[in-house]
């Protein structure tokens, strides 16, 4: 066995310890970020915010009135677009939050890949938070928006600019707070 100098021995022993230490700090940062809401491993990194809305024209979903991208662009106040479906459990969970958000911002719903009768039943049961409701039966308009699942919401400024994009329900305090922070900055 060749001799190892004490300083070299300490150095060799420190390598795995330092590795474990770095991994520990990284995990701690991720976990604390998850509970604080600054880090979300399910984040979909969608680049929608900052873009303009895609062109579309969707039929009405009872009990509401359908709308097109032109209708949305012509608004003079910010509008929250909410993709939802009756088959989506997180959408049911966020309904109470949407009903109270309705007092702060106009919400337009788009039913995603849903049977019209099911969507209507869902909205009627839940209490309708939507000013207008359109139906995206095939889910193709949702793809143009960059939707990867429901519920997903976009805040649209007058002129059709997407100023905020959130995936996940508003029953999650982090999502709700993120939207409210943006809402506080835009002239209502």
């Amino acid at each position: 066995m060749s001799e190892i100098s004490p300083s070299r021995r300490r150095f060799l022993m420190a390598i795995p310890l330092a590795g474990a230490g770095i991994a520990g700090v990284a995990f701690w940062k991720m976990l604390s970020g998850m509970s604080a809401g600054s880090f979300d491993p399910h984040d979909i990194h969608a680049p929608a915010a900052g873009r303009v809305i895609p062109d579309f024209d969707l039929p009405a979903q009872a009990p509401g009135e359908g709308f097109s991208s032109t209708d949305l662009r012509q608004q003079t106040k910010p509008v929250l677009i909410n993709f939802f479906a009756s088959w989506c459990i997180p959408c049911i969970a966020e309904m109470d939050a949407l009903l109270s958000l309705k007092k702060e911002v106009e919400i337009w719903g788009i039913a995603y890949k849903d049977k019209p009768e099911n969507a209507e039943g869902f909205i009627t049961r839940a209490g309708n938070p939507y000013t207008r409701i359109a139906s995206d039966r095939e889910g193709r308009v949702a793809i143009d928006w960059g939707v990867s699942g429901v519920p997903e919401s976009f805040l649209i400024a007058p002129g059709g600019h997407i100023i905020w994009h959130g995936a996940g329900g508003f029953d999650n305090g982090n999502t709700l707070n993120a939207l409210k922070a943006v809402l506080a900055k835009v002239p209502a």
């Binding site: 979909i44 969608a46 680049p47 890949k113 095939e138 193709r140 793809i143 928006w145 990867s148 699942g149």
Partner: protein, 162 residues
């Protein structure tokens, strides 16, 4: 014998290379394009696109609803004769670079792409240093006392004097 081994090795590696492509399968044969060349191109594009629901599968591998819709979109664009780059761009505009299973080379991904070469370089450097040190610290010849002690030990007398 070596011929047999070489054949075995070749067929095994071919099998391993081909497996991921064999595994790509659409849920429903009616989704497939009639022209096999178009279908192969659509599958190759789809294999490069992340299913945003399952996140670690490609849309060709996934049976999620969104993946099925995106497969359909890819096939529509292929049928229209768009190039692979055009179709990729269409997807990235909507879903960002996150939808690409192999990220493009940018400043943010430079370390990721450079890592194989960097790791090889570090490994070669370590090997070079260690080999050089080994040649420098060749064992010195034993002096007469050490040689005597070694002889004793080899005769099995080493344990008696501690």
């Amino acid at each position: 014998m070596t011929r047999f081994l070489r054949h075995l090795f070749l067929s095994l590696s071919l099998f391993l290379i081909a497996t991921p492509y064999i595994a790509l399968a659409v849920d429903d044969p009616s989704e497939m394009l009639p022209d096999p060349r178009d279908e192969a191109r659509a599958e190759a594009i789809g294999a490069q696109l992340r299913c945003l629901v399952c996140q670690n599968e490609s849309i060709e591998d996934s049976s999620a609803g969104l993946a099925r819709d995106l497969r359909k979109v890819v096939r529509e664009h292929v049928a229209k004769g768009e190039t692979n780059d055009q179709i990729m761009h269409w997807m990235v505009v909507r879903y960002g670079n996150f939808i690409r299973l192999s990220p493009p080379l940018t400043l943010a991904t430079a370390l990721l792409w450079g890592m194989p070469a960097l790791a090889l370089l570090i490994g070669l450097l370590c090997a070079f240093i260690m080999f050089r040190r080994r040649s420098v610290t060749a064992p010195l010849p034993l002096d007469p006392d050490e040689q005597k002690r070694l002889d004793e030990l080899s005769r099995g007398k080493g344990q008696t004097d501690a």
